[in-house]
Protein backbone atom coordinates (compact mmCIF):
# COMPACT_ATOMS: atom_id res chain seq x y z
CA UNK A 1 0.00 0.00 0.00
CA UNK A 2 1.12 3.59 -0.59
CA UNK A 3 0.81 5.82 2.47
CA UNK A 4 1.50 8.97 0.49
CA UNK A 5 -1.34 8.69 -2.02
CA UNK A 6 -4.91 9.20 -0.80
CA UNK A 7 -6.90 5.96 -0.78
CA UNK A 8 -10.66 5.92 -1.30
CA UNK A 9 -13.48 3.68 -0.10
CA UNK A 10 -13.57 2.25 -3.63
CA UNK A 11 -9.91 1.22 -3.33
CA UNK A 12 -10.93 -0.78 -0.25
CA UNK A 13 -13.80 -2.42 -2.16
CA UNK A 14 -11.44 -3.31 -5.02
CA UNK A 15 -8.76 -4.68 -2.75
CA UNK A 16 -11.31 -6.86 -0.92
CA UNK A 17 -13.11 -8.12 -4.06
CA UNK A 18 -11.23 -11.46 -4.31
CA UNK A 19 -11.81 -12.03 -0.59
CA UNK A 20 -15.47 -11.14 -1.10
CA UNK A 21 -15.78 -14.18 -3.37
CA UNK A 22 -14.41 -16.43 -0.62
CA UNK A 23 -16.56 -14.71 2.02
CA UNK A 24 -19.63 -15.26 -0.16
CA UNK A 25 -18.91 -18.98 -0.51
CA UNK A 26 -18.23 -19.25 3.22
CA UNK A 27 -21.41 -17.30 4.02
CA UNK A 28 -23.45 -19.72 1.89
CA UNK A 29 -22.07 -22.64 3.84
CA UNK A 30 -22.73 -20.86 7.16
CA UNK A 31 -26.37 -20.38 6.17
CA UNK A 32 -26.68 -24.05 5.26
CA UNK A 33 -24.95 -25.25 8.42
CA UNK A 34 -27.00 -22.95 10.66
CA UNK A 35 -30.24 -24.21 9.16
CA UNK A 36 -29.22 -27.83 9.55
CA UNK A 37 -28.29 -26.97 13.16
CA UNK A 38 -31.92 -25.89 13.76
CA UNK A 39 -31.08 -22.20 14.00
CA UNK A 40 -33.93 -21.40 11.64
CA UNK A 41 -33.63 -19.00 8.74
CA UNK A 42 -33.76 -15.51 10.23
CA UNK A 43 -31.43 -15.94 13.23
CA UNK A 44 -28.34 -16.85 11.11
CA UNK A 45 -28.88 -13.79 8.90
CA UNK A 46 -29.24 -11.51 11.93
CA UNK A 47 -26.08 -13.07 13.35
CA UNK A 48 -24.10 -12.46 10.14
CA UNK A 49 -25.20 -8.82 10.04
CA UNK A 50 -24.39 -8.14 13.70
CA UNK A 51 -21.66 -10.51 14.89
CA UNK A 52 -19.94 -10.45 11.46
CA UNK A 53 -17.16 -12.87 12.39
CA UNK A 54 -17.10 -16.17 10.52
CA UNK A 55 -15.25 -18.50 12.84
CA UNK A 56 -17.30 -17.51 15.92
CA UNK A 57 -20.55 -17.98 14.02
CA UNK A 58 -19.51 -21.41 12.75
CA UNK A 59 -18.56 -22.38 16.30
CA UNK A 60 -21.94 -21.26 17.66
CA UNK A 61 -23.92 -23.10 14.98
CA UNK A 62 -21.96 -26.33 15.19
CA UNK A 63 -22.01 -26.45 19.02
CA UNK A 64 -25.75 -25.72 19.19
CA UNK A 65 -26.37 -28.22 16.37
CA UNK A 66 -24.41 -30.93 18.17
CA UNK A 67 -26.40 -30.30 21.37
CA UNK A 68 -23.33 -28.83 23.07
CA UNK A 69 -25.28 -26.36 25.17
CA UNK A 70 -25.92 -22.64 25.16
CA UNK A 71 -23.13 -21.61 27.56
CA UNK A 72 -20.51 -23.67 25.71
CA UNK A 73 -21.55 -22.12 22.40
CA UNK A 74 -21.42 -18.56 23.75
CA UNK A 75 -18.07 -19.04 25.53
CA UNK A 76 -16.49 -20.57 22.41
CA UNK A 77 -17.72 -17.75 20.18
CA UNK A 78 -16.60 -15.01 22.58
CA UNK A 79 -13.14 -16.61 22.96
CA UNK A 80 -12.82 -16.74 19.17
CA UNK A 81 -13.65 -13.04 18.94
CA UNK A 82 -11.40 -11.87 21.78
CA UNK A 83 -8.63 -11.22 19.23
CA UNK A 84 -10.66 -8.19 18.15
CA UNK A 85 -9.62 -6.57 21.44
CA UNK A 86 -5.95 -6.11 20.47
CA UNK A 87 -6.90 -5.72 16.79
CA UNK A 88 -9.25 -2.87 17.77
CA UNK A 89 -6.44 -1.19 19.72
CA UNK A 90 -4.21 -1.26 16.65
CA UNK A 91 -7.00 0.11 14.44
CA UNK A 92 -8.11 2.79 16.92
CA UNK A 93 -6.11 5.63 15.37
CA UNK A 94 -7.96 5.18 12.07
CA UNK A 95 -11.35 6.23 13.43
CA UNK A 96 -12.58 9.78 13.89
CA UNK A 97 -15.67 11.60 15.08
CA UNK A 98 -17.95 11.13 18.10
CA UNK A 99 -17.83 7.96 20.17
CA UNK A 100 -20.85 6.34 18.54
CA UNK A 101 -19.37 6.85 15.09
CA UNK A 102 -16.04 5.29 16.12
CA UNK A 103 -17.87 2.38 17.76
CA UNK A 104 -20.01 1.86 14.65
CA UNK A 105 -17.10 2.03 12.20
CA UNK A 106 -15.17 -0.40 14.39
CA UNK A 107 -17.81 -3.04 13.62
CA UNK A 108 -16.40 -3.21 10.07
CA UNK A 109 -13.12 -4.56 11.44
CA UNK A 110 -12.68 -8.22 10.53
CA UNK A 111 -9.37 -10.02 10.04
CA UNK A 112 -9.43 -9.45 6.29
CA UNK A 113 -10.48 -5.78 6.18
CA UNK A 114 -7.95 -4.99 8.92
CA UNK A 115 -5.16 -6.76 7.02
CA UNK A 116 -6.00 -4.97 3.77
CA UNK A 117 -6.04 -1.57 5.49
CA UNK A 118 -2.45 -1.84 6.82
CA UNK A 119 -0.31 0.95 5.41
CA UNK A 120 3.42 0.82 4.87
CA UNK A 121 3.94 3.16 7.80
CA UNK A 122 2.22 0.65 10.08
CA UNK A 123 -0.98 2.69 10.58
CA UNK A 124 -4.47 1.68 9.44
CA UNK A 125 -6.12 3.40 6.46
CA UNK A 126 -9.73 4.20 7.36
CA UNK A 127 -10.96 4.38 3.75
CA UNK A 128 -9.50 0.98 2.86
CA UNK A 129 -10.87 -0.51 6.09
CA UNK A 130 -14.40 0.84 5.60
CA UNK A 131 -14.57 -0.02 1.87
CA UNK A 132 -13.27 -3.55 2.42
CA UNK A 133 -15.37 -4.07 5.56
CA UNK A 134 -18.62 -2.96 3.88
CA UNK A 135 -18.06 -5.20 0.85
CA UNK A 136 -17.32 -8.20 3.07
CA UNK A 137 -20.34 -7.46 5.29
CA UNK A 138 -22.66 -7.35 2.25
CA UNK A 139 -21.17 -10.55 0.73
CA UNK A 140 -21.25 -12.39 4.05
CA UNK A 141 -24.80 -11.42 5.04
CA UNK A 142 -26.34 -11.86 1.57
CA UNK A 143 -24.72 -15.27 1.18
CA UNK A 144 -25.91 -16.33 4.63
CA UNK A 145 -29.47 -15.46 3.63
CA UNK A 146 -29.19 -17.42 0.38
CA UNK A 147 -27.70 -20.39 2.23
CA UNK A 148 -30.35 -20.29 4.95
CA UNK A 149 -33.34 -19.90 2.60
CA UNK A 150 -32.17 -21.90 -0.45
CA UNK A 151 -29.55 -24.10 1.14
CA UNK A 152 -30.59 -27.27 -0.62
CA UNK A 153 -28.82 -25.98 -3.72
CA UNK A 154 -25.44 -25.64 -2.01
CA UNK A 155 -22.81 -28.36 -1.82
CA UNK A 156 -20.87 -29.37 1.28
CA UNK A 157 -18.19 -26.67 1.89
CA UNK A 158 -15.50 -29.22 2.75
CA UNK A 159 -16.01 -31.09 -0.52
CA UNK A 160 -15.33 -27.78 -2.26
CA UNK A 161 -12.13 -27.29 -0.26
CA UNK A 162 -13.42 -24.04 1.25
CA UNK A 163 -11.83 -24.81 4.61
CA UNK A 164 -8.44 -24.75 2.84
CA UNK A 165 -9.16 -21.40 1.19
CA UNK A 166 -8.93 -19.48 4.45
CA UNK A 167 -5.48 -20.53 5.70
CA UNK A 168 -4.21 -19.71 2.18
CA UNK A 169 -5.99 -16.34 2.30
CA UNK A 170 -4.39 -15.49 5.64
CA UNK A 171 -1.00 -16.64 4.32
CA UNK A 172 -1.39 -14.25 1.37
CA UNK A 173 -2.34 -11.39 3.70
CA UNK A 174 0.61 -12.26 5.95
CA UNK A 175 2.89 -12.29 2.89
CA UNK A 176 2.26 -8.62 2.22
CA UNK A 177 2.87 -7.84 5.91
CA UNK A 178 6.33 -9.32 6.31
CA UNK A 179 8.33 -6.40 5.00
CA UNK A 180 11.26 -6.38 7.41
CA UNK A 181 13.08 -8.54 9.92
CA UNK A 182 11.14 -7.45 12.99
CA UNK A 183 7.77 -8.16 11.32
CA UNK A 184 9.10 -11.55 10.25
CA UNK A 185 10.06 -12.22 13.87
CA UNK A 186 6.57 -11.16 15.02
CA UNK A 187 5.03 -13.60 12.50
CA UNK A 188 7.28 -16.46 13.60
CA UNK A 189 6.57 -15.65 17.24
CA UNK A 190 2.80 -15.55 16.65
CA UNK A 191 2.82 -18.87 14.79
CA UNK A 192 4.98 -20.49 17.49
CA UNK A 193 2.75 -19.32 20.36
CA UNK A 194 -0.34 -20.61 18.53
CA UNK A 195 1.29 -23.99 17.81
CA UNK A 196 2.36 -24.46 21.44
CA UNK A 197 -1.05 -23.55 22.89
CA UNK A 198 -3.35 -25.32 20.42
CA UNK A 199 -3.25 -28.76 22.10
CA UNK A 200 -4.05 -27.29 25.52
CA UNK A 201 -6.63 -24.56 25.04
CA UNK A 202 -9.96 -24.10 23.31
CA UNK A 203 -10.03 -22.48 19.87
CA UNK A 204 -9.51 -18.72 20.02
CA UNK A 205 -7.11 -18.60 22.97
CA UNK A 206 -4.01 -19.40 20.84
CA UNK A 207 -4.78 -16.44 18.54
CA UNK A 208 -5.26 -14.02 21.44
CA UNK A 209 -2.02 -15.20 23.06
CA UNK A 210 -0.19 -14.96 19.72
CA UNK A 211 -0.95 -11.24 19.63
CA UNK A 212 1.68 -10.89 22.41
CA UNK A 213 4.32 -11.56 19.73
CA UNK A 214 3.73 -7.98 18.58
CA UNK A 215 5.81 -6.90 21.61
CA UNK A 216 8.83 -7.76 19.44
CA UNK A 217 8.09 -4.43 17.76
CA UNK A 218 8.50 -2.53 21.05
CA UNK A 219 12.20 -3.37 21.37
CA UNK A 220 13.17 0.01 19.96
CA UNK A 221 11.00 3.07 19.39
CA UNK A 222 10.33 3.69 15.72
Amino acid sequence: MHPTSQRTYLDGVRAAAPIGVAAFAFGLSFGVLARSADMGRVAPVVMSATTFAGSAQFATASILGAGGGLVTAIVAAVLLNLRYGPIGLSAASAFEGPWWKRALTAQLVVDESWAIAQRDDGRIDRHLLVGAGLLLLVCWTTATAIGAFAGDLVADPESLGLDAAFPALFLALLWSQVRDRSRLLAAIGGAAIALVLMPFTGPGVPIVAASLACLIGARRPS
Binding site: P18, D38, A43, T51, F52, Q57, S62, L70, A73, I74, V78, N81, L82, Y84, G85, P86, G88, L89, S90, S93, R102, A106, W114, G122, S159, L160, G161, D163, A164, A165, F166, P167, A168, L169, F170, L171, A172, L174, Q177, R183, A186, A187, G189, G190, A191, A194, L195, M198, P199, T201, P203, P206, I207, A210, S211, A213, C214, L215, G217, A218
Partner: protein
Amino acid sequence: MNAVWISVIVVGLATVAIKAAGPLLLASHTPPPRAQAALEHLAPAVLAALVVTQALGGDNGGFTIDARLAGLAAGAAALLLRAPLLVVITAAAVTAAVVRLVA
Protein backbone atom coordinates in the same frame (compact mmCIF):
# COMPACT_ATOMS: atom_id res chain seq x y z
CA MET B 1 -36.79 -16.99 24.03
CA ASN B 2 -34.98 -20.08 22.78
CA ALA B 3 -31.28 -20.93 22.93
CA VAL B 4 -30.69 -19.91 19.31
CA TRP B 5 -31.85 -16.32 19.78
CA ILE B 6 -30.13 -16.00 23.17
CA SER B 7 -26.83 -17.07 21.60
CA VAL B 8 -27.32 -14.75 18.61
CA ILE B 9 -28.00 -11.78 20.91
CA VAL B 10 -25.34 -12.50 23.55
CA VAL B 11 -22.58 -13.33 21.04
CA GLY B 12 -23.61 -10.31 18.95
CA LEU B 13 -23.52 -7.88 21.88
CA ALA B 14 -20.22 -9.30 23.16
CA THR B 15 -18.61 -9.02 19.71
CA VAL B 16 -19.86 -5.46 19.20
CA ALA B 17 -18.43 -4.52 22.62
CA ILE B 18 -15.07 -6.22 21.96
CA LYS B 19 -14.70 -4.56 18.54
CA ALA B 20 -15.66 -1.13 19.89
CA ALA B 21 -13.46 -1.31 23.01
CA GLY B 22 -10.11 -0.37 21.43
CA PRO B 23 -11.33 2.63 19.42
CA LEU B 24 -13.30 3.93 22.44
CA LEU B 25 -10.50 3.40 24.98
CA LEU B 26 -7.88 5.07 22.78
CA ALA B 27 -10.29 7.82 21.70
CA SER B 28 -8.17 10.91 22.13
CA HIS B 29 -4.88 9.31 23.10
CA THR B 30 -2.02 8.47 20.80
CA PRO B 31 -0.22 5.51 22.35
CA PRO B 32 3.42 6.11 23.39
CA PRO B 33 5.93 5.37 20.58
CA ARG B 34 6.96 1.94 21.82
CA ALA B 35 3.34 0.82 22.29
CA GLN B 36 2.55 2.13 18.81
CA ALA B 37 5.53 0.21 17.41
CA ALA B 38 4.23 -2.94 19.08
CA LEU B 39 0.71 -2.43 17.66
CA GLU B 40 2.24 -2.07 14.19
CA HIS B 41 3.59 -5.60 14.60
CA LEU B 42 0.20 -7.04 15.57
CA ALA B 43 -0.90 -7.84 12.01
CA PRO B 44 1.95 -10.29 11.18
CA ALA B 45 1.64 -11.94 14.63
CA VAL B 46 -2.14 -12.47 14.42
CA LEU B 47 -2.19 -13.40 10.72
CA ALA B 48 0.53 -16.03 11.28
CA ALA B 49 -1.51 -17.47 14.17
CA LEU B 50 -4.61 -17.54 11.93
CA VAL B 51 -2.70 -19.46 9.25
CA VAL B 52 -1.61 -22.04 11.82
CA THR B 53 -4.97 -22.44 13.58
CA GLN B 54 -7.02 -22.51 10.34
CA ALA B 55 -4.71 -25.00 8.64
CA LEU B 56 -4.14 -27.36 11.59
CA GLY B 57 -6.94 -26.77 14.11
CA GLY B 58 -9.27 -29.64 14.96
CA ASP B 59 -12.98 -29.36 15.67
CA ASN B 60 -12.50 -29.79 19.42
CA GLY B 61 -9.10 -28.18 19.89
CA GLY B 62 -5.75 -29.84 19.19
CA PHE B 63 -4.42 -30.66 15.75
CA THR B 64 -6.03 -32.28 12.72
CA ILE B 65 -3.87 -33.06 9.70
CA ASP B 66 -6.01 -33.24 6.56
CA ALA B 67 -6.38 -31.99 2.98
CA ARG B 68 -6.18 -28.37 4.19
CA LEU B 69 -2.37 -28.72 4.39
CA ALA B 70 -2.15 -29.73 0.72
CA GLY B 71 -4.37 -26.76 -0.11
CA LEU B 72 -2.16 -24.42 1.91
CA ALA B 73 0.93 -25.74 0.12
CA ALA B 74 -0.72 -25.05 -3.25
CA GLY B 75 -1.65 -21.56 -2.07
CA ALA B 76 1.95 -20.95 -0.96
CA ALA B 77 3.24 -22.12 -4.35
CA ALA B 78 0.84 -19.73 -6.09
CA LEU B 79 2.10 -16.92 -3.84
CA LEU B 80 5.70 -17.70 -4.77
CA LEU B 81 4.69 -17.42 -8.43
CA ARG B 82 3.24 -13.97 -7.58
CA ALA B 83 -0.28 -15.06 -8.50
CA PRO B 84 -3.17 -12.69 -7.68
CA LEU B 85 -5.11 -13.25 -4.45
CA LEU B 86 -8.11 -14.94 -6.05
CA VAL B 87 -5.80 -17.45 -7.78
CA VAL B 88 -4.06 -18.19 -4.48
CA ILE B 89 -7.38 -18.88 -2.71
CA THR B 90 -8.78 -20.92 -5.60
CA ALA B 91 -5.61 -23.00 -5.93
CA ALA B 92 -5.85 -23.88 -2.23
CA ALA B 93 -9.55 -24.79 -2.38
CA VAL B 94 -9.30 -26.82 -5.59
CA THR B 95 -6.23 -28.71 -4.35
CA ALA B 96 -7.94 -29.62 -1.07
CA ALA B 97 -11.10 -30.67 -2.90
CA VAL B 98 -9.13 -32.87 -5.31
CA VAL B 99 -7.13 -34.45 -2.48
CA ARG B 100 -10.41 -35.28 -0.68
CA LEU B 101 -11.87 -36.71 -3.87
CA VAL B 102 -8.86 -38.96 -4.47
CA ALA B 103 -8.10 -39.94 -0.87
